[in-house]
Amino acid sequence: MLAILRRDFRSYFNSPIAYVLIGLFICIMSLFFVDSLNAGVANFSSNFISSMSFMLLFIVPILTMRSFSEDKKSGTEVLLLTSPVRLSQVVLGKYLAATAVFLVLTAVSLVFPLVLLIYGKPDGATLFSAYLGFILLGMVFISVGVFASSLTENQIVAAIITFVSLFTLTSFSYIGSYVGGLVGKVLNWLAFMEKYYEFSAGIIDITSIIFMLSFAVVFVFLTVRILERKRWSQG
């Protein structure tokens, strides 16, 4: 598992893709960060908070599109699946590699709180909680992306599936309020954005943490099942 994690992680950083993603993320988020600078307030503006999550909708598909698609295409899938490593470990390795890149991106984005810290006295606990929410949201999104990547060998298709799924996922609360009833309740329950906003406001909800991690686990697990099924498939 560690071998796959390390390889994929290096692969991201041996190509320009990770650098470009991180660079663009910082650049675009800076434009929203200016709100705080101009207002002279040492906290993240609500625009900044929502843009962070919005950016993930674009970053994650690009990050995860190669996870399995690339291996399927280049034939290295055979190498992974015929080496003495459990399938679950292969999937976990790939998932954690994408997550690790995302964490690097998150770490680089700590320049923003750093600026607040240098020039003011921000509420550290709330910033921490906002970042916790961001990381959890990222982990959820990446699990969806890795799953989508296991469905197809075409990277672009994988990215599009991921983007559409994530977009749907994030609009659950809107849909939920239209639908109403039990479906609406379920959709509300799945509304990650609400949970993310709670974190960013400084509320740490253990059930939300468990929920988001469970969601990621379910999708990683489903990815394992998809790859397994392929080996049992009749056609």
Binding site: N14, P16, G23, C27, D123, G176, D205, F221, L222
Partner: protein, 475 residues
Amino acid sequence: MKMDFFRKRSFKYGSYSVVMTVVVIAVIVMVNVILGFSGISKRLRFDITRNKMFSISQQSIDMVKSLDRDVEIFILSSESSYSNIMVKEVVNQYVVHGNGRVIGPRYVDLDKDPTFISKNFDPDQVKGINTGDIVVRSGKNMRVLNNQDFMEVSYDYYGGAQVTGLKVEQAFTSAIRSVTAEKTATVYFVSGHGEYKSDELSQLKTTLTLNNYNVETLTLTSPVPGEVDVLFFPSPTSDLLGSELENLLAFLERGGDAVFLFDVQSTIQQLPNFNDAFSRYSLQLNYDLVNEFSQANYLKENWMIRPMVYMTDVTKHLNPDQLFIYLPMSRSIGLLSENKQNLEISPLFGTTDNSTSVDLNTGAQRFGPFLLGALSELEIGLNNHSRIALVGNCTFITDDYISELGDNGSRYIVSILNWMQERTDEVLVPAKSLERPPLNMTQQSRVLVFFLLTAVIPLVIIGTGLFVWIRRKNL
């Protein structure tokens, strides 16, 4: 054939795999459903903000813990579109600490269920209710809270409003207290001396009811019954009879409270018996009309006084914006010099130095400042007080006035009654100031940081990427 299919390995392993997938996912979903929809989740939330934005004070916790009846909280909005995190969290806190007494929040989407309000709420108690408002209900009592109730607003000199803090907790604690108040005190409106009639004071009565006061009427011809707490005199125009005075004094001497409001009278009528009663509290009602000349303190006419409102126990629980009161055509209140022990007088309303009064009997003119209202508290025995309020105006609580200039006056009256009843509906915790820690940057460093963040750092990162890529490309 069938058996053959079942014996097939793909079926065996395939179905095993499907069953296992379903089981694992079902277990995970179950755990989350149990966590999410049971009460546990509410206790697993932690407010880690620096000034505990989403937590409630011990005072409120003690209050909900001691509740002996159920309180329901309705949010008149669909759950997903209600975005006031602070309200959600604070309500959650009440629910968590309420030992099951605080129920909710129940989201009511009025678009989907437009008859909900008329079916479930008493129309008198929820006047002017709107989507997004919150109803706190216990039994038949209910209180409506809206966003204005949650904001602490301060006014600058020109009347511009600015939100300086949030007092969601204060609003909820006071609402819960008021709807669950066990004993509602009764205010007796005294009649028989040309006072305002009931239908001229209907707004005030509604406000009193909403604040858990029963409203009854009473004459003083017979001794005041023992259950009476407060007498209310809405501008008597004729004097008390001797027997009435005796009944009043007897009531006051056993620790009764009374509110006296007197309008300026066109017929010059002396009220010696009333003044006799006031003198025991070192107060005196003057027979005059006060005019204010300081520009900030009157509205258009000199007699439409915007008095200085003194900060007292009465004003403690009122919003600053509720202190905007206009007193049209007022009489002044005199302070008798004799200093009595066991007596504490506090001014309520006053005029500036730049004011005059004309005695309606003699035409004599006096110069301000004048007192337009005062409280007097007489200690009668151990822990027993008789409190009176005397205000030289009653117009400001009439329906006519309220429809034109707002109901701050009746709120003020409620506040006086609360003080007399030693009711602390309001919560003493200060409003939560909005977390806005300042960023001390010079313009120069702001530009520098902006440049660093938008250009230098991204370019360095992307440049590193290109460097690594190009270097490896030709390996």
